[in-house]
Symmetry: C2
Subunit: 243 residues, 2 copies
Amino acid sequence: MAEQGGGVSGTGCLGCSLRQRNEWCVLSEEETRFLARNLKKRQYRTGETIFSAGEPSHGIYCVVSGTVAIRKGDSEGNAVLLRLAYPGDTLGYRGLLLGEKRRSCAEALGPSKICFIDKQTVQSLLDRNPTLGLQFLRRVATDLDDAHTKLLHNATFSNRAKFVHLLLVLMNRHGRTATDGSRVLQLPLSRRDLASMIGTRHETLSRIIGRLEEDGIARFSGRTVHVARPHSLLDEIRPTLVG
Amino acid sequence: MAEQGGGVSGTGCLGCSLRQRNEWCVLSEEETRFLARNLKKRQYRTGETIFSAGEPSHGIYCVVSGTVAIRKGDSEGNAVLLRLAYPGDTLGYRGLLLGEKRRSCAEALGPSKICFIDKQTVQSLLDRNPTLGLQFLRRVATDLDDAHTKLLHNATFSNRAKFVHLLLVLMNRHGRTATDGSRVLQLPLSRRDLASMIGTRHETLSRIIGRLEEDGIARFSGRTVHVARPHSLLDEIRPTLVG
DNA sequence: CGGGGGTTTGAGTCCGTTCAAAATACGTGG
DNA sequence: CCACGTATTTTGAACGGACTCAAACCCCCG
């Protein structure tokens, strides 16, 4: 009776296959049972908010199934999509660890199952198993490196290159390879969100998409993307690595 | 016989005033003595490299005095200045924690004293005092938030606004207030580095600086910046927050 | 005194933004 | 199932900003 996200109903976290891949893998069986007793699992509908910027951090969230968008906005209404979170990802640790209010918001991009673990439970687990803290440390360090890489790309890539790069990343998660070697991608995001991920306007993104079609790199139809020659995307990013 | 960076010779880390302000503050007296015995303090000259991208991570560094630039570059020779590090800051934890090679490089922007703590010592301290790990966790989480904020700014601010924002940040660290209320800043960076911090070319930065002078916001002379009305910088950033 | 790196300035071009309008997709209720 | 209103996406035209390439300038250091 397996669930969508890999969990098995009745066995709680112990049977959750995601546990192998995230920071909770260092918990003992007893600690895992403690975790299972103290978390709240909940289903979110498409577009539903998981947490919002400005509200206090009462705990952390663990994605079981679905895709979650992490956004950050400023006082003038601008917003960027910082990253996407997938099953196994833990959200909201920053606010909790620093005891601060949320500085970003999380939204379910599709029907999603997400577990909530309150502050006390996290604290208790951190106290009992110091290794858990180190696991989180590794996770945050990885996220930090991702953010730094993004800063470098934003500063040096053209919008077109940034978008192609984004397509490649999304392809890894959401893409499928057809029998003829071409790849098909179902975009989990609106053009607006895609544009905000590469730091530009949606109108500009529209034109970039138009140019990619003209150049035969990819075909766009709604949220479906076809890439006949996957290698052409890679070629886009390294303009002249020929030497 | 106080040293430049707040340390007192002979007492090692125990007498180091920086200890109060960074992650090492949670160490016991004994642990601190252990740390002091196992670190290597060294003086760097202006422009000297502390570590480079691609080399293995043998330990972490703690800035005692001076200013350090953290840069990240790509294979095509582009590079951005990710951040500046000051006394009390710990460098190079990412590579060490993840057991990976360095992905950024660190350069002393002026004569700097920096302590090196090797992998074994860090590991040993982390094992003995789990709170140290949590301290690092808080530090990395803060850095991550900074990086995310920068991503938002890069995506939404104009180059001019980004530079003004950078000036405000540098003013906090390197600025002095004159008797007439105006502020004077000694830039620790070249125009090239300043430009890379806001993700643009040095030519563009030159023009931005020219325009700021035209508008009477600031006067630039070499690496010295005069700002007659400090509030004018703040006004630049919120374009029209008036009702 | 002669490099050499850093900085400024110029001209031309391309790219991205803005504002506006049209076209398309989407969800809801009839 | 269709009509309708709404949100999203595309397209257009004009404008401004930023980039490229290039040359001149400056200043520090050998």
